[in-house]
C-alpha cells in the first residue's frame, strides 16, 4: 500500500493529514500489518487536550494492546465513531476510512518533527 505523499508520519507509525488548522490522524499500513486483526479501538473523548507524543488511544489486535501517540499537540475535536463497531476498518483502510481522531493543532511547528512519506518508507524499510 503506498504512503500518501501529502501526509506526514511519526516514527511511532501514526499518519497525519493536514486539513486547514486541523490534523486528521490514524495508524499506518505498516502498523496495522504488524498488529494483525484489530478487534477493539479505545478512542479519546472529544475535548481532550493532548501533547505531542502523549499516549491518547489504544488499538487492540487479537494478540495485544498497542498505545497510539498524538502526532501533534492539540484538542480532540472529532473521533471516528465507526471504529466502535467496525474496528477492522483499520486493517482494511488504514490511511482513509480507518482514521481515528481529528485534532485542532496547537503548535504547527511540531509538524516539522514528522517524516515525509519517503522518509517514513526509509524508516520502516530498515525494520
Amino acid at each position: 500500500m503506498p504512503y500518501p505523499s501529502e501526509y506526514r508520519y511519526s516514527k511511532e507509525h501514526e499518519w497525519v493529514k493536514l486539513e486547514g488548522a486541523n490534523a486528521r490522524m490514524g495508524i499506518t499500513d505498516f502498523a496495522q500489518h504488524e498488529l494483525g486483526d484489530v478487534v477493539y479501538v479505545e478512542l479519546p473523548k472529544v475535548g481532550r487536550k493532548v501533547k505531542q507524543h502523549e499516549s491518547f488511544a489504544v488499538v487492540e489486535s487479537v494478540k495485544a494492546a498497542s498505545e497510539v501517540y498524538a502526532p501533534v499537540s492539540g484538542e480532540v475535536i472529532e473521533v471516528n465513531k465507526k471504529l466502535e463497531n467496525q474496528p477492522e476498518l483499520i486493517n482494511k483502510s488504514p490511511h482513509t476510512e480507518g482514521w481515528m481522531v481529528v485534532l485542532r493543532i496547537d503548535t504547527p511547528k511540531e509538524l516539522d518533527n514528522l517524516l515525509t512519506a519517503a522518509d517514513y518508507e526509509k524508516h520502516i524499510g530498515g525494520k
Partner: protein, 363 residues
C-alpha cells in the same frame, strides 16, 4: 541463546509465516491472519506444527506404577493405545505441567508443553529414584508432530493413512502407516474441533505437512491455536495452570482420582475435591466494551477478588470473553454481574459457563 527449530522451520519460512520466540523455539505465530486461520479450523481443516511439544518415554516393568505416582488421573484404566489427559503435580498439589499419556504396547509416552519439557523431565527424574525398574527418557528430538483439526480433518487425513480412521475414538490412538511410513495417530487436539495429532519422524513430518497442504489443509499458527483453545475452555499452562495453582482450582477436578496407590499431591488434592478451594476458575463475558486480558483485576461487589488468566475477543462468538480466578468467598452464578479493571477503568462483565464454545469434537 539460539532458538530451537522444528523440522518444519523451512516450510514455515516458505509459507511466509511471521515467526516468534515461544518457549525457546522459533515458531510461526500466523501465516495469513489469526482471524482467517481461526475460521478455517472452525469450518474446514487446519494443520499446526506442534513438533515443539516434548515427548518423554517411560518404560520398564514398573512403568505403570511410576506413571501412577506422577499423575492424579488414573493410567491403570487405560487400554493399550488409549490416551489420557492429566495434570502433573508437585507434592503440594500445584501443577508442574499438563500432559497427554499414551499407553503404548511397550511403554508410556508422555507429551508435555514445549516450554516445560526440561523442567518436567527434571521433576520426573527426581521421582524415578525410588523405582527400580523404570527408564525415563526425553525423546523430544526424535518426534515431529502435526495436529490436523477441524470438521474436515478426518476427510483430509483419511486418504493418507493405512488404517480405518473411523475406528479411532476420541482419546484413542493407532500405530499406522502414514504415507507408507510408521507413525502414531491419535484422535486428540487442542481446538474444540474433531481432529488428529500425528507423531512421526522429522522426515515424515515434513512430507506429511506438504501433502496435507496440497490436500487443502490450511497452515495455522500459534496465534489461532490460542484463540481456538480459549473458546473451547481448554487450560493453557502459564495462564489457567501454574506452580501456584492446583488442578482442582483450575476446574480440572475430573482429572483427580481416588486411586488405591499414592501419588504426588494426593492428600491435598482429594481434600480440595471434598471440601472446596479458596479460588476457582470462571468464565466472563464483557457487558461493557473492552478486552479483559491476562492480569486484569476482577471485582465482585466492589471488592477486588480475582484476576483474569486469559482474555480476548472470541472470533467465533464475536464477544469479549475471559477466564479468571476468583475467590470462592462470594457465591456467583451464571448471569451475575461483576467488574474488571482495564487501564484503570472499571467495566461491567457477567459470569458465563465454560466452555464458551463447543465445536465438532466427538466426546
Amino acid at each position: 541463546m539460539t532458538l530451537k527449530k522444528t523440522p518444519l522451520y523451512e516450510a514455515h519460512k516458505r509459507l511466509g509465516a511471521k515467526m516468534v520466540e515461544f518457549g525457546g523455539w522459533e515458531m510461526p505465530i500466523q501465516y495469513t491472519s489469526i482471524l482467517d486461520e481461526h475460521q478455517a479450523v472452525r469450518t474446514s481443516a487446519g494443520i499446526f506444527d506442534v513438533s515443539h511439544m516434548g515427548e518423554i518415554e517411560v518404560s520398564g516393568p514398573q512403568a505403570l506404577d511410576f506413571v501412577q505416582k506422577l499423575i492424579p488421573n488414573d493410567a491403570s484404566k487405560l487400554a493399550v493405545i488409549q490416551v489420557l489427559y492429566s495434570p502433573l503435580c508437585y507434592e503440594n498439589g500445584t501443577t508442574v505441567d499438563d500432559l497427554l499419556v499414551y499407553r503404548l504396547v511397550d511403554k508410556f509416552l508422555l507429551v508435555v508443553n514445549a516450554a516445560n519439557t526440561d523442567k518436567d523431565f527434571a521433576w520426573i527424574q527426581n521421582n524415578v529414584s525410588s523405582f527400580k525398574n523404570v527408564n525415563a527418557e526425553n525423546r523430544s528430538a526424535a518426534y515431529g508432530q502435526i495436529a490436523i483439526q477441524g470438521p474436515k480433518a478426518d476427510a483430509t487425513l483419511r486418504p493418507l493413512v493405512e488404517c480405518d480412521l473411523s475406528q479411532i475414538k476420541y482419546y484413542w490412538s493407532v500405530q499406522a502407516k502414514v504415507l507408507g511410513e510408521s507413525a502414531l495417530v491419535s484422535r486428540t487436539g487442542y481446538t474444540g474441533e474433531d481432529g488428529f495429532e500425528v507423531y512421526a519422524s522429522p522426515q515424515l513430518t515434513q512430507k506429511l505437512w506438504d501433502t496435507l497442504i496440497s490436500a487443502g489443509a490450511k497452515p495455522i499458527g500459534l496465534g489461532a491455536r490460542d484463540t481456538l483453545r480459549f473458546e473451547a475452555g481448554l487450560a493453557l499452562y502459564g495462564h489457567e495452570l501454574n506452580e501456584q495453582t492446583t488442578p482442582i482450582e483450575a476446574g480440572l477436578g475430573w482429572t483427580v482420582k481416588e486411586k488405591s496407590s499414592d501419588y504426588n499431591g494426593k492428600a491435598i488434592l482429594l481434600q480440595q475435591k471434598r471440601e472446596g478451594t479458596k479460588k476457582k476458575l470462571i468464565g466472563l463475558k464483557m457487558v461493557d466494551a473492552g478486552v479483559p486480558r491476562q492480569g486484569v483485576k476482577v471485582f465482585v461487589h466492589g471488592q477486588e477478588s480475582g484476576v483474569v488468566t486469559s482474555g480476548m475477543k472470541s472470533l467465533t462468538l464475536d464477544q469479549f470473553l475471559a477466564m479468571a480466578f476468583v475467590s470462592t468467598n462470594t457465591s456467583l452464578k451464571p448471569g451475575d454481574r461483576l467488574e474488571v479493571e482495564i487501564r484503570g477503568q472499571r467495566k461491567i462483565a457477567e459470569l458465563v459457563k465454560l466452555p464458551f464454545y463447543r465445536g465438532s469434537v466427538k466426546h
